[in-house]
Amino acid sequence: MTGSDLIGMMILAAGLFAIGLFGVLARRGILFQLVALEVALSGPALAFVAAGAYHADPQGQGMFILVLTLAAAEVAVGLALFLRIRRTSGTDDSDIISGMKG
């Protein structure tokens, strides 16, 4: 694996992150925004693993496990908030619920 291959994988990772960011910004449904957030998180995961493979170092996969933990906790809290918002305000549009009332 040469340096140009690493650059290729980094471009792929940046593309995944950009697609996820676009999804978070463009979608209105909270469930779809959470899916896009997962896509965005997988970009840095690919970057860590590719860098770890380039240097033949286990630290890349260690960071990937930490990213995985973060994604699991974030999705659990996000989905609980989604269900709570649907129950209290009856909508899943993040524009409608953007104003917090205490």
Binding site: M1, D5, G8, M9, L12, G15, L16, I19, G20, F22, G23, A26, R27, G29, L31, F32, L34, V35, A36, E38, V39, S42, A45, L46, V49, A50, G52, A53, Y54, A56, D57, P58, Q59, G60, Q61, G62, F64, I65, L66, L68, T69, L70, A71, A72, A73, E74, V75, A76, V77, L79, A80, L81, F82, L83, R84, R86
Partner: protein, 168 residues
């Protein structure tokens, strides 16, 4: 040659990620998310990170997506959505079929010996475990604290407040 496989799987993940964030139907978006995660796992395998690939399939595609599907199942399903599903099943099968065939292609490469040896030096699960429970023990403690905070947060957010608790 195996690096070609990594780039192929990465490009595949890119396409299915674009599909996952643009589908109007929640279940379709989740299915494309699973396809993206599987393609990413193929890329991890080709990069010599087998442990990360297995964790990606087990935790991401196995646990996190099931959580999403569970939430989607709690949403009410209207009769018109079922008729829309029937109509889309007639017209919208070529794209999923193409994706399934394309994700099958790397396995055929491996079967016919086209893929060859791994391009990157493989990092074994034992090395990762030595790292995590040796010098990175503090990071593991912080991750466990994060999961505990998530657990308590979900318990607090998901608490039903329709029936006030009777205080003794």
């Amino acid at each position: 040659m195996s690096l070609l496989l990594a780039i192929y799987a990465g490009a595949f993940a890119l396409v299915s990620a674009a599909l996952a964030v643009t589908r109007p139907n929640a279940v379709h978006a989740l299915l494309y998310l699973v396809v993206m995660l599987l393609a990413l796992a193929v890329a991890f395998f080709a990069l010599g990170a087998a442990f990360a690939a297995v964790l990606l399939i087990l935790i991401y595609a196995g646990a996190i997506v099931v959580l999403f599907v569970f939430v989607v199942m709690t949403l009410p399903i209207s009769p018109e959505s079922i008729t829309r599903e029937r109509a889309s099943l007639r017209g919208a099968w070529p794209l999923p079929l193409l994706l399934s065939v394309l994700i099958l292609a790397p396995f055929l490469f491996g079967e016919f010996g086209i893929a060859g040896n791994s391009a990157a030096a493989p990092v074994s699960a034992q090395q990762v475990g030595r790292l995590l429970f040796g010098p990175w023990a503090l990071a593991i403690e912080l991750a466990s604290l994060l999961l505990l905070a998530g657990l308590i947060g979900v318990r607090h957010i998901g608490r039903s407040d329709r029936t006030p608790r009777s205080r003794p």
